[in-house]
Structures are given as structure tokens and as C-alpha cells.
């Protein structure tokens, strides 16, 4: 029973949503369900946030390696919750949105989360360089093709491209790298994108059907 009911729910909800596309009065059902999802996601956070608190708390209590950082995480988490849920330091009081300008909550976001997030994101610049140096090798024919296409686009999007091939006469202007870059973007790139997308579309249909029909049920857990 504990397993059959969830399977039935998945089946019914899935089928209803598929059918709703063809039945105008129920067309908005998908949107309603996505609101349900938003609400469930917040409740689920009690489990996620609870897990965060519990794992760091036990780490700190057992004095495991790096337990000090767990305390930092816990303090940050609890402080942010208190400030945000009770809207402490919010000039608009409890009725203002939590992210109102000038509120303590938003200030912390601007001065702590923003720089951290931007810096973490900018690590990409380093990794891009290191991947360019170490990983983008013409190891086989596929990799060579990838590399050549990437290189043409790279050159085409910087002034170097024009610098290198600007001398090519007008009648062969397709050989100028910026034009080649545009051609690659519009033709072979488009073809590859489409093949991938059509494949994904069919893959989703098949996977969804497996799930709705209950053939794929690993996510539902055991029989206990």
C-alpha cells in the first residue's frame, strides 16, 4: 500500500496534466500545480534547513575536524533567519518586503552574498584559461572539429579576427574570420542544436512515460 498510493498519485497527476493541454477549462492546471510546488518546496526547506542545522550542530558538538566552521555556518544561518523573518532593521517594519532597500537583510545580501557570489563566478575566468591550456586538445577528430569551431568563433568575436584576415578581398569575404564565425553560428551550430533539442524532446517523452506508468520508480523508496 505504502508504495501503491504514491504510484497512483504520480499516474493520475501525470495523466491529468497531459490531458489538460487538450481541454481548455483545465489549461491553467499546470500553473496551479506549479504554485503547489512552490508551497511544498518551502515546507521541504524545513527538512533541508533542519538537515543543515543538525549536521553542523553535531559536527560542532562532537568536535570533529573543522568544527569551528560549522559554528560560523550555524551563526550565519540563524542570524539571517531571525533578521529576515522578523524583518529586523527594516525601515518599513513588518509590512515592508524583506528585501526592501536599506533593510539590514538586503544590506547583508549586498555586502556579503554579492561579493562572494561574484568572486566565485569570476573563478570561471581562471578555469577557462586553465582548461584552454590543458584540456582543449585536438586529441581526435571530434576534438579537432570542436577546437577549430571554437577557435574561429573566438577569433571572430575579438578584433584579432579582422586583423588576421581583413586583407581577404570582398568577393571571398566568407573567408574573413568574423563572417565565418557568423556562418558557423547560423548554420552548423543551428543544425547541431536542433538535433540535440529534438533528441531531448523525445528523451523527455520517454522518461516521463516511464515515470507516469510506474516503470521507473526508484525515487519512491523501499517497501518499509
Amino acid at each position: 500500500m505504502k508504495r501503491e498510493i504514491p504510484l497512483l498519485i504520480t499516474f493520475i497527476v501525470g495523466v491529468v496534466l497531459i490531458v489538460s493541454v487538450f481541454v481548455p477549462p483545465t489549461e491553467t492546471l499546470g500553473e496551479d500545480f506549479s504554485v503547489f510546488f512552490d508551497i511544498i518546496a518551502v515546507f521541504a526547506f524545513f527538512l533541508g534547513g533542519g538537515n543543515l542545522v543538525q549536521s553542523h550542530f553535531s559536527k560542532a558538538r562532537k568536535r570533529q575536524t573543522d568544527w569551528g566552521y560549522s559554528i560560523v555556518t550555524l551563526v550565519g544561518f540563524v542570524a539571517m533567519l531571525t533578521i529576515g523573518l522578523f524583518k529586523l532593521g527594516n525601515p518599513g517594519g513588518i509590512s515592508a518586503p524583506p528585501t526592501a532597500e536599506g533593510s539590514l537583510f538586503q544590506e547583508i545580501f549586498d555586502f556579503v552574498i554579492m561579493p562572494l557570489s561574484a568572486t566565485m563566478y569570476s573563478l570561471l575566468a581562471f578555469f577557462v584559461a586553465s582548461a584552454s591550456y590543458r584540456a582543449f586538445r585536438a586529441k581526435n577528430r571530434e576534438a579537432t572539429i570542436l577546437l577549430v569551431a571554437a577557435f574561429i568563433i573566438l577569433l571572430g568575436r575579438t578584433p584579432f579576427g579582422m586583423l588576421v584576415t581583413g586583407w581577404i578581398p570582398e568577393s571571398f569575404d566568407i573567408l574573413q574570420i568574423p563572417n565565418m564565425a557568423i556562418w558557423i553560428m547560423n548554420s552548423p551550430n543551428l543544425a547541431g542544436q536542433r538535433a540535440i533539442m529534438i533528441g531531448i524532446g523525445l528523451g523527455v517523452v520517454s522518461m516521463s512515460l516511464r515515470i507516469i506508468l510506474g516503470i521507473e520508480r526508484t525515487y519512491l523508496g523501499g517497501d518499509d
Binding site: 496534466l17 534547513g49 523573518l85 561574484a118 573566438l154 556562418w183 552548423p188 547541431g192 542544436q193 529534438i198
Partner: protein
């Protein structure tokens, strides 16, 4: 206050960059601050947006009064949302091991609705629309097409077709089929090369922004 904010931001920025050398206490500190504060941030935002903004306001719509104190334009309460809340409460039943199995219901609901919703969505936007878009004339009397355009059209059609051959599961990639699939994977590789070239350059400006912050806003060494 401005000084404190600058120093906090700079301290955190350098801490994250120190990871490039190796994992160290500075990075660990920044990481734990980041995790704790951002988890709290997102919960608060989600709580006010969804539980208050969508659920509470939906079920108990605020009554609007005009200047004369008359009730105007009161929205209809949407009691359907309570179903969502009930599913949400079922979710946290996991905390009580005895009835923990109830939490599979909302999970089943979510998985079912995601599958049902995306089945049609992906089918239309990814499959049907792409096939429709690929049905193009290679050349025609009425079109002014250069040789490049005709080759381009040909490449689009052949590339899409052979790309699909590559994804075929029912046949081993051997013989003529294998060769067609090869052309397909080459097209796909060009796509990847194009997205790589396209993305790589834009990533570099992120670093420029942070370096400007460190040397300009913070240390004031550059104007």
C-alpha cells in the same frame, strides 16, 4: 559603515581567490559564511514569496478600501491553494518516523506533475517546433540566395538529420549507418565549439570587475 562594508567584501573576495592556490582556512571561513548566510537568505525570500505571497494572500486576500472607507475590489479567495499546503505539511511528516511514508505522496505529486507538464512542453517546443523549423527550401526560384546561403541550408538539413542518426539507439554505429552518425557527431561538435567560443570570452569580464573592485574601490590604487 562604508569602510566596514568595503573591508568585508574585500576580505571575502580574497578568501575565495585563495582557493586557487589551495584549500586553506581563509577559504573555509568564507565558504562557511557563504553557505550559512545564503541558505538563510533563500529560505526567508522563499518564505515571504511563496508561503506569504502566494499561499496566505491567495487564501485570505487582503481587502482593499478606498479613501471613503468602502470595500473595493476584493479578490476571490483561492481555496485550491490549501491542497498545496496540505501536501507541504505531508512533506514534513518525515520528521516523525512512524508516519514518514506519507511524505512520499507530495513527492509522487511533484514527480508526476513535472513529468506530465514537461512531456507535452518538451514535445512541442523541442521536437515539433524544431522539425517544423528545419523544413526549409534549400534553394528556390523566388529567392535571392548566395552560394553560402544554399550551402548553409544544406548544412542545416544534413546536420540535423545526421545528428538524429547519431542519437539512434536501435542500431550499432557500423557501416554506412556509422558513417552517417559520424557526420552527426561532427555537427554536434561544431555546436559545442561554437558555444564554447561564445561563452569563454564573456567569462573573462567577470574577473575584470572583481579586480577593479580590489584595486580601485578598495585599495584606491587605480582611478
Amino acid at each position: 559603515m562604508e569602510h566596514v562594508a568595503l573591508w568585508i567584501a574585500a576580505f571575502l573576495t580574497l578568501g575565495i581567490y585563495s582557493f586557487l592556490y589551495k584549500d586553506n582556512i581563509w577559504y573555509k571561513l568564507c565558504e562557511s559564511i557563504f553557505v550559512g548566510i545564503s541558505a538563510g537568505y533563500w529560505f526567508v525570500v522563499l518564505f515571504w514569496d511563496n508561503i506569504y505571497g502566494k499561499f496566505w494572500v491567495g487564501v485570505f486576500p487582503p481587502k482593499a478600501y478606498n479613501d471613503a472607507g468602502e470595500l473595493v475590489n476584493s479578490a476571490e479567495p483561492d481555496y485550491l491553494l490549501i491542497v498545496g499546503a496540505v501536501l507541504g505539511v505531508m512533506m514534513i511528516s518525515r520528521l516523525i518516523p512512524k508516519i514518514g511514508w506519507v511524505s512520499r505522496w507530495p513527492l509522487a505529486f511533484i514527480v508526476g506533475s513535472t513529468s506530465g507538464l514537461y512531456l507535452i512542453n518538451y514535445f512541442t517546443s523541442n521536437m515539433m517546433r524544431q522539425v517544423e523549423a528545419t523544413i526549409i527550401p534549400l534553394f528556390g526560384m523566388n529567392y535571392e540566395l548566395s552560394a553560402y546561403d544554399i550551402i548553409g541550408n544544406l548544412v542545416i538539413v544534413i546536420g540535423t538529420f545526421t545528428g538524429l542518426v547519431y542519437f539512434f539507439f536501435s542500431k550499432e554505429h557500423k557501416g554506412w549507418f556509422g558513417r552517417t552518425a559520424k557526420i552527426g557527431i561532427w555537427t554536434i561538435m561544431i555546436t559545442f565549439g561554437a558555444s564554447f567560443g561564445y561563452t569563454v570570452m564573456s567569462r573573462m569580464s567577470l574577473l575584470i570587475g572583481r579586480i577593479d573592485f580590489l584595486f580601485g574601490d578598495w585599495l584606491g590604487l587605480i582611478k
